[in-house]
Amino acid sequence: MKNLFIIILSCLVFATNTQAQTDRSKAPEPGPAPTIQMGSYQTFTTKNGIKVIVVENRKVPVVSFQISLDKDPVLEGDKTGYIELAGDLMRSGTLSRSKAQIDEEIDFIGASLSTFSSGVFGSALKKHQNKLLEIMTDVLMNPTFPEEELEKSRTQQISSLANVPSNANAIASNVSQKLRYGDGHPYSEITTEETLKNIQREDLVNYYNTYFKPNIAYLIIVGDINTREAKKLVKRYFGKWQKGEVPRHIYPKPEQPESNRVALAERKGAVQSVVTVTYPVDLQPGAPDAIKASVMNSILGGGIFSGRLIQNLREDKGWTYGAGSNLSTDRLVGSWRARTEVRNSVTDSTVTEILKEMQMLRESPVNTEDLELTKSFMNGSFARSLESPRVIASYAYNVERYKLPKDYYTTYLEKLSAVSVQDVQEMANKYLKPENAYIVVAGNKDEVMPTLAKFSKTGDVELYDAFGRVIEQSDLPTGLTVTDVLEKYFKALGGKDKASGVEDVKIDLTASIQGQNLRITLMNKAPNMSYNEVSMNGNPVMVQYFDGEKGGISQMGSKMPVSDEMAKDMAFQAAVFPELAFSDYGIDPKLTGVEQIGSKKAYAIEYQLPSGSKSIAYYDVESGLKLRSVTFVNTPQGPVEQSMDFENYKEVDGIKFPYTIVQPMGPMKLQAEVQNISINSGLDKASFSMP
């Protein structure tokens, strides 16, 4: 019967349609605009100071609990990453549960539980809510931070960091973060392998003990639950959480750069550049400018397909798949950034277009139609966001946390609709800074670097590594190779033939340190014998030798063990000119850049010694001579740098030797002067052993 009715009805409808031809030529008019009602929330505060927000929503039988700590950011310094680790590891063991038990119990009820440096989040079906709360409050109040879990996470994080240099987005975001906030600000800190290695369990425990306190906590409860039930649950599960004094921290406000600075970070083999234009802004959540400024940013590129950046870079030029800009408010310091990924060849043109769009919005008023479109879009986005009870909860959280007027969100649409053409231009002038920006590009250095200098006032393109660390500029001529540098070096010495013709050499030097006179003797004999002796006031204080097969060291008369690794290096270093022995030892030297050595520029050639230790030698760009050699000796305390400078080259039998050798020793310098050099004097093999 019902079916029949529907059939008749549909025939009728069909009939009407065929009679009146649908007019497709114009867009249909909308019906009356619906009123948008924001879901409500309730708040209460517990005895131990937790501020609780409850958003009831019974659409699905799911409930979620979020603890959020309202604390100042903490500076981590050379232990950056420990706060995140502290958060992660909260769910890796409690007084009564191992990590495996926590995982098993959470997975068994199909729930999710995550812990962060600033809180804990758990969500489950209603019927499992008590089990969830039991585990969640256990990790919140009784975490043990097991040492082995720390080691596990550290290793995993270090492994994951290995992929950062391949990920242009991660690189761009690291460099932007570093530049935008500057050193010494907690927002600029980036976790690296080195900082991870500095972290100790104690750091995690201290962080937890200091900051995980109910009196700075919000508890946001969302879903299939009412306030009455929430109160009971909170008392039962969170009642025992102990209050405590929590320190506050204040930081200087990061400033925008005085003129545009250009930063480039290399992503090897990149076929696209990640282009970011960014700077810090002073914009508090809920500030009078916040809504007006966000309309302005939307017109430019905030999540809207009609945004100017995407229309320009994608729909007009076809340079990218996506482009947009983001203006974020923050209590400490907000930020603005525009971002896109474009093919290498249009990297600089993209920067030009972004700056142009920023400038245009500052100079010319927007047309009313664009403004109205953007406001409608934002109105719609706000209405759609209310579908999620968690978003309603986040609005409530903002009101409480940032002390916004209670009606901030309920009157949001009114404030939005009041934004005028003048407001947009005013905001553009205040928050768009096309001349005070960091222009950050992560991409193919060789292809894009030369095109970017024009955006920086000084003409400098600053180089950064994948973790936002400055790379000392090297201006290596293109095409220059290790062989070129070494050939120039030998030519400067007097010729490779001459150098290869040196069968043995003996060098006597003198030096003084702290009023004591030192005599130094250095002997080498081809192919791989060496003998070095330092004596003080006539007594040998240090002897090191390698007789072609084995080596020995003695200091102050006592013999030191020579490991197999050390012996391998000694053999290589015993060559009269180690540069001539690279291939014999399978060493693959790399030309890594140009660096400043004192007042001179030098090519850096880096290689691995047979033991795996790193060594770098520097050759004067102008004269070709070797200026410095640095070896990073591996010790149980980490690599120790040993460096030697070569100066004052003089010719001996047609080959130049440095007559001054300087070795830094802690804060002092040991300067040794050559007294005599003899070449091919037929040194006896027997001299290359312990006297």
Binding site: V13, N17, R24, S25, P28, Q272, F305, E315, G318, G380
Partner: protein, 440 residues
């Protein structure tokens, strides 16, 4: 007295049996031209979602025009007979809505999210691009560049971006699943303007689509409006190209090494599995949870936590209309050889093949699925997509309510049986995805 209240409360919170899922009501009908329509009314907020799903994906492409379905999706935003280029999105955004689309191996779907007073606008827009899209050569040229940049962004310039590409081309020799959705950029460059018209004529026809409207509607009004804008769109006259499901069964393991700009290797194992909706498929999907869903899952617990061989491991079925793949993907921890990782993956597979999983594990997986399904359909947009999907591939939109039973019916024996049936060496591709630096 107080105590007894607490006891009562505890009783109330005790787990009850039966599904926590709430029924999603809908109504459906088919227009004379073959367009199927599903209406789901939910008046709790003044919002609507309009989803139109076309039963065409990358598998319907000509092997010389891979990536065409996705490229075509881009062009559907270009304009229509009555909507000039660049205006389509503006109509939606001006109305306070948003829009997007997605292309898969098997389908292409378009959605509009609008305030409920703009239902008619949404139907006009969708009907316009079904009836008479206008795609000019400027639009084609621009979108060719955009799509090529999209490929660079999502595949070429991403670490591990080529994993699926390399896996599929080895797993399939005949079936069009052998190429990725984004396709070959040369094919996109070579495509000629007339090919778009042909593609539209064949696939963008009412009988190849399902239209779902979800949210704040009155069903009768919605139905009238659907009739108004869609009833007079002519049905397609061509036979729709649908490739055969067959891919010859593998007789021996395929094993290869590929190099990419990554620092850590990845190990990929891809096993051929039955198509989505097959009884065995549900067991395979649950097997995926057993192996890698949550930190207590077998692979995560053993390989990441206990032995610390991997920094990440996942075992994910790629459920498709035709038989798809089950992909194990692991990334080793520092200093761990890929071979050791592969051995560990094999060990876990072998264990499921040899021993029945425990009752406890089965219950855990069922609980995970229940949670997933309840959380899946919380927005009108996600419900619209699910309804469209279930109708397109199973002609049964009500699976949105009943599919959970298929998961709950899976037994421990089923899981062991599918492990034995599909997780064999000869039925798989193994790929070592290595850092470029190790390519000597």
């Amino acid at each position: 007295m107080k105590k007894s209240v607490i006891v009562l409360l505890i009783l109330l919170y005790l787990p009850f049996t039966g599904s926590a899922q709430q029924k999603i009501e809908f109504e459906e009908f088919t227009l004379k031209n073959g367009l199927h329509v599903v209406l789901h009314q939910d008046n709790s907020l003044p919002l609507i979602a309009i989803n139109i799903m076309y039963h065409v994906g990358s598998k319907n492409e000509n092997p010389q025009r891979t990536g065409f379905a996705h490229f075509f999706e881009h062009l559907m935003f270009e304009g229509t007979k009555h909507i000039p280029r660049g205006e389509f999105d503006k109509y939606v955004e001006r109305a306070g809505g948003t829009l997007n689309a997605g292309t898969s191996f098997d389908y292409t779907t378009y959605y509009l999210l609008l305030p409920s007073n703009q239902l008619e606008l949404g139907l006009w827009l969708e009907s316009e691009r079904l009836l008479h899209p206008v795609i000019d050569s400027t639009g084609i040229a621009t979108q060719k560049s955009v799509v090529i940049e999209e490929k660079k962004q999502t595949i070429d310039n991403r670490p591990y971006g080529r994993i699926l590409y390399e896996t599929l081309k080895r797993a399939y020799t005949q079936h069009p699943y052998r190429w990725v959705i984004i396709g070959d950029e040369n094919h996109i460059r070579e495509a000629e303007d007339r090919e778009f018209e042909e593609f539209h004529k064949m696939f963008y026809v009412p009988q190849n689509a399902v239209l779902v409207i979800a949210g704040d509607i009155q069903k009768t009004d919605a139905r009238n409006l659907v009739e108004k804008y869609f009833a007079d769109i002519p049905a397609g006259a061509k036979e729709i190209y649908r490739p055969e499901a067959s891919e010859p069964a593998k007789t021996s393991e395929v094993r290869d090494i590929v190099y990419d700009n990554v620092q850590l290797p990845a190990i990929i194992q891809a096993y051929h599995i039955p198509s989505q909706g097959d009884d065995d498929y549900y067991a395979v999907e649950m097997l995926g949870n057993l192996l890698s869903q949550g930190q207590s899952s077998r692979m995560y617990k053993s390989m990441v936590d206990e032995q610390q061989l991997a920094i990440s491991v996942s075992a994910i079925p790629l459920g498709l209309e035709h038989p798809g793949l089950f992909i194990n993907l692991a990334i080793p921890n520092m200093g761990i050889e890929p071979e050791a990782l592969e051995e560990a993956l094999d060990k876990e597979i072998e264990k499921v093949r040899k021993e029945l999983i425990s009752e406890n594990e089965l219950q855990k997986i069922k609980n995970q699925f229940e949670n997933r399904i309840v959380n899946r359909n919380t927005t009108i947009a996600s419900r619209a997509l699910s309804l469209a999907n279930y109708h397109t591939f199973f002609r049964d939109a009500n699976l949105i309510n009943t599919e959970i039973e298929k998961y709950m019916a899976v037994t421990r024996e089923d899981i062991q049986r599918v492990a034995q049936k599909y997780f064999n060496k000869e039925n798989r591709v193994v790929l070592y995805y290595m850092p470029e630096s190790e390519n000597n």
